[in-house]
């Protein structure tokens, strides 16, 4: 049993350090990715919203239109203006 207990204590120390290390890496990696994407692929504030010509359109309707266009075009299409006739 003494041998098992020694092993268990070692596993406790190694295990907790490993979990902390990996989650520390999650934090570092996440921050790094955020910085890189912010620098090289920032999304403009308007993305996902239609242009100024969309005034008067209900935001829920607008979001539905934007989502539908994104789904149909596989993310390539963007809604720039929605007008009421």
């Amino acid at each position: 049993m003494e041998q098992s207990l020694n092993n268990a204590f070692a596993i406790l120390v190694v295990g907790m350090i490993t979990v902390l290390l990996i989650l520390g890496l999650v934090v570092v990696l996440g921050n790094l990715l955020i910085r890189i994407t912010n620098k090289f692929w920032p999304q403009s504030e308007n993305t996902g919203k239609a242009g100024s010509g969309s005034a008067g359109i209900h935001t829920g309707t607008l979001s539905a239109i934007v989502a539908a266009v994104e789904a149909v075009t596989g993310g390539k299409g963007k809604v720039t203006k929605v007008e009421k006739k």
Partner: protein
Amino acid sequence: MQDIFSSLFEMTAFGTISYQTVIMWLIAFVLLYLGIKKKYEPLLLVPIGFGVLVANFPGAEMGIVDASNIDLGDGRYKNLFEIAHEYGILNFLYYSLIKTGFLPPIIFMGVGALTDFGPMLRNLRLAFFGAAAQIGIFTVLIAAILLGFDLNEAASLGIIGGADGPTAIYTTIKLAPHLLGPIAIAAYSYMALVPVIIPLIAKMLISKKEFTINMREMDKKFPPKHKIKNLKTVKIIFPIALGTVVAIFVPSSVPLLGMLLFGNLIKEIGTSTSRLADAATGPIMNTATIFLGLTVGATMTSEVFLTSKTLGIIAGGFIAFALSVAGGILAVKGYNLFASKKINPLIGATGLSAVPMASRVANEMALKYNPANHILQYCMASNISGVIGSAVAAGVLISLV
């Protein structure tokens, strides 16, 4: 005539019903009651409960047989046809899907496709509390050895503290497959009892003042340094990058974590892989859950389940769970001693991997003390990191034990 009646009686199971059989039926009925009526993890407790029932029908030969029955020696085993022919379909399913470690990672893929890393990416520092909440796993490992479990069994018992069913099952398959039934039952039962266990521990360790720490107010006082300008891209790159890093540091956690991250990736890519994500979260995950539940239940035959070790697992599992909750809370309290931007300790309590129930419970508790204090998204950050933490802890146990 008497011979006919005698044969008829022998054909039935009446002569082979023992008190152990009846106890197992009662356990099965309780599990079914909890799943159906009380709605405690019904997707798992119902198949597990029914698996227990069919495994303990005398003469039906649906119970899972010990691995020594299929071991031919020299590292050779009976083939699946022989297993199905000799021991029935549940043994076929068990040895092909469970014993091979196939189903838990498949379920993790579905979990990944249902997981949103967004809250964690928005509150990255909270991910550390997912690590602190793994302390229950390793502490109970030591306690279980003192209680007479061997190292493999103790590690399987400790992993219940991770509050993650597939992880507990996967670790137990690898380390102590003979304890699979009781450990799976304990893990899922305590996960279902999260709404009871978290408030119990939280009220013991958190003061009224700490319950009212408002995370949004803290964010206003101390705004985050970096705003995420393209969350969609970050969410797509994140599982790929994290999977690569984890694979280098803890390769044994890759079957679980790799599948989790793959599931998440196909969800985050969007429309071009949405069919894969739908399959992972729908038909595949549902089918896997049925087979996992039934076969895990079928491992619980009276000879395996009605032992003193089962009681040890039930008690040890609760302690592991409670210590994990306490570990997360105490880590936040320790952090608050030194930081000016305080964190609500309830967020530490959600460092377990019971997603999203732990977060919902913590949020409801916070709202009781202050109806304007919504902490759900912050809880989800440590909750999701808890999923990663418990999978890494499982990888460590599998590697080192």
